[in-house]
């Protein structure tokens, strides 16, 4: 069957016009029985006017106008020739390695996973590789920890392998807690066996016979599917004793996190599994040397482990061809915030933020002006729009004062206030701080106090110095990653959006209209058409007046919700 797929990806909303035109002209040409003309909901291309895809074949046309339709029918459909001027060279920017099976297989059926080359990695390893060779392969691949730190995975494994001990452990860290991040949840819910297989390979390599999947209790479906996967793997003999008849023993259990963010930190996570309070411990010794119950323990993130079976099956060299110089492979991001397509994406390292937001995310919501993108959650920072052409990898993001993090990516537009954002993330860390060390416990609270003062217009310029000082003390002296990185959102907004801080402190204004004490709504009488829409929409009755006298906002009553500002069609409400 031949298909003509149509979608207006620009602002003109011409999908229906071109669609009708194709139908009419095909009927005139007597060809309408051979073609199905269809309007797409999404064609995977953005900002290229009317896009027309013709199947079968690989022809994609962009900016198609009414006049072009006849030409397309004559030249392409009848004579099978492409039209150069309209052609769009389109390449899918996503590569699926970690998410290879998500949305493809039934996660509750082990056979489905096996059908997609599942358990081929462990089979190859057990039958053909000694642990040394696995380490070599992992080294060649260049895989680095996807939980955020970016430590080379092979090195972690090698440390644990090097310690002589009766028992060793593999832990999968699935305590995903960054606001707006759901990469690990999707992998565990969509393809749990890939994580199990990754853990088995890690176990064989370091000499561990026991593993724990540490999943946060807030992910009930992920827990259920992982448990099913473990049960099935046991039945098939992939877990237990003498796996695949190769003399390797390995078994797995699930441990639940009780909702503490800090338990994503590896030493706190270990304490939690041991049944202790989830508090971090000073490192060294690192868990690879002395971890769970004092034994060598490898802790890898869900995404890291999901990469492992593919690397072993297809080879480290294959994997290392994807990505940038220092960061190999792909990264899964949860793209959210003020973006058209909130989605879970997997892209090769080295892709730019601009490509992510505009080519995959479809651009900003409601045609607002984009301001920044937040990466790395509460430990990360913001990257302003003028730096969106930076290729995404561990080093580049670090240079910008942010981090790769586990993969949360939140798009922010002109309505987002950077002080408000810092306050949110810092507030999160203050709430989640375990309270064990003073720099994090006291420093965080003090930082938050200062930020609150700024947002209420009560701060002075000298407070900015205090912000920097306390932040740097926290970075240097905190016990674990939570405290060390809690100030990152503050520092990075201060670096790139100092103007906004000045605005709040000196001019006492919040341009974005988020800090409620620092702005007010007013009706510009000259522009007001007296339609009364603002009055009808005000939830607190703060807009008295009528069609004859006009309207006025009573500042004492106004709660600064912005409804009037949003609903006014004549831009007669000023902020």
């Amino acid at each position: 069957m031949k298909i003509i797929l149509i979608k207006d990806t620009g602002p003109t909303e011409k999908t229906k016009i071109i669609y009708d035109l194709f139908n009419a002209l095909l009927r005139d040409a007597g060809m309408h029985a051979d073609y199905q003309v269809v309007r797409a909901a999404d064609i995977g291309i953005y900002g290229k006017g009317v896009v027309v895809k013709i199947f079968p074949g690989d022809i994609v046309y962009q900016n198609v106008q009414e006049d072009d339709v006849n030409n397309i029918i004559d030249t392409t459909l009848k004579q099978n020739k492409p039209i150069k001027d309209l052609r769009l060279d389109f390449q899918n920017k996503q590569i699926r390695i970690v998410l290879r099976n998500c949305g493809v297989i039934d996660p509750e059926k082990i056979d489905d996973y096996i059908g997609q080359d599942g358990y081929q990695g462990i089979k190859k390893v057990l039958q053909k590789f000694d642990p040394e060779k696995v380490i070599d392969e992992m080294k060649t691949s260049g895989l680095r920890g996807r939980g955020g730190g970016g430590f080379p995975t092979w090195m972690k494994w090698n440390f644990a392998r090097g310690v002589e001990m009766d028992q060793k452990y593999i832990i999968c860290n699935a305590d995903e807690g960054d606001p707006g991040a759901y990469m690990d949840r999707s992998v565990l819910e969509g393809d749990p066996h890939s994580v199990l297989e990754g853990m088995m390979i890690a176990g064989y390599t370091v000499g561990a016979s026991k593993g724990y999947l540490y999943i946060r209790a807030e992910y009930p479906l992920a827990i259920e599917r992982c448990q099913k996967a473990i049960d099935q793997a046991r039945v098939y003999g992939f877990l237990g004793e003498n796996i695949l008849g190769c003399g390797f023993n390995f078994d797995l259990d699930i441990r639940l996190g009780a909702g503490a963010f800090v338990c994503g930190e590896e030493t706190a996570l270990i304490a939690s599994i041991e049944g202790k309070r989830g508090c971090p411990q000073p490192r060294p010794p690192y868990p690879s040397i002395k971890g769970l119950w004092g034994k060598p323990t490898v802790i890898n993130n869900v995404e890291t482990l999901a990469n492992v079976p593919v690397i072993l099956h297809k080879g480290g060299a294959w994997f290392s061809k994807i990505g940038s110089e220092t960061s190999k492979g792909t990264k899964v991001f949860a793209l959210t915030g003020k973006v058209q397509n909130s989605s879970l994406i997997e892209v090769p390292m080295g892709i730019t933020l601009r490509e992510i937001v505009f080519d995959i995310g479809g651009g900003v919501l409601d045609n607002k002006k984009i301001k920044a993108i937040q990466t790395g959650g509460p430990s990360g920072g913001v990257v302003p729009e003028d730096l969106f052409d930076t290729p995404v990898d561990y080093e580049n993001l670090l240079k910008l004062g942010s981090i790769m993090g586990s993969g949360g990516m939140i798009v922010m537009d002109e309505d987002d206030c950077m002080i408000d954002i810092s306050k949110f993330y810092l507030g999160f860390c203050v709430e989640e701080s375990c309270g064990k060390c003073a720099p994090c416990r006291i420093g965080g609270t003090q930082l938050l106090n200062i930020l609150t003062d700024i947002s209420e217009g009560k701060a002075t310029m000298s407070d900015l110095d205090r912000l920097t000082k306390i932040s740097s003390a926290m970075q240097k002296a905190s016990l674990c990653g939570l405290g060390q990185s809690a100030a990152n959102p503050v520092l990075s907004t201060l670096k790139f959006f100092k103007k906004e801080y000045h605005g709040h402190i000196v001019e006492k204004t919040c341009q974005a209209g988020k800090c409620s004490g620092l702005f007010k709504y007013e009706i510009i009488q000259k522009k007001c058409k007296r339609c009364g829409l603002c009055q009808r929409n005000c939830p607190v009755g703060a807009i008295p007046g009528d069609k004859d006298k006009g309207y006025l906002i009573e500042q004492e009553k106004c709660i600064r919700c912005g409804r009037c500002f949003d609903v006014c069609k004549f831009e007669a409400v000023a902020r």
Binding site: V38, A41, D42, C102, G103, G190, C246, G247
Partner: protein, 115 residues
């Protein structure tokens, strides 16, 4: 070396031999939150009511959260299509048009894979 409990390659061969038409509904947290469980139920109901020879399957999140619930469908003689923003009404349309009359639906296609 003793033999293992199952033969991976055998299972792989068998599962990939499976042919016929299928419908997959994305049933991860994101899909279920958007109503995927009701969509799956509706498909089940329609399948039984009309006695259709089509496999109904569950899968994980395909990544297009903005278009959940997502349904992927393969029917002989048609390209493999991903439909998004599916509800009970669209389910009936998919069966009526896509499955029975081999016509694509307007305004719900998010991806087409032509083999």
């Amino acid at each position: 070396m003793s033999s293992s409990k199952v033969n991976i390659d055998e299972i792989k061969k068998n599962i990939n031999k499976k042919s016929g038409d299928w419908i997959k509904v994305g049933m991860s947290t994101c899909g279920i939150a958007a109503g995927a469980d009701k969509v799956l139920e509706k498909f089940q109901e329609e399948k039984e009511r009309r006695n259709l020879d089509i496999r109904l399957e569950k899968c994980g999140c395909a990544g297009m959260c903005y278009a959940e619930p997502l349904v992927e469908i393969r029917v002989k003689g048609m390209p493999q299509v991903v439909y998004g923003k599916v509800d009970a009404k669209v389910v009936v349309e998919i069966i009526d048009r896509h499955v029975l009359r081999k016509q694509l639906l307007d305004d719900h296609i998010y991806n087409i894979k032509v083999q």
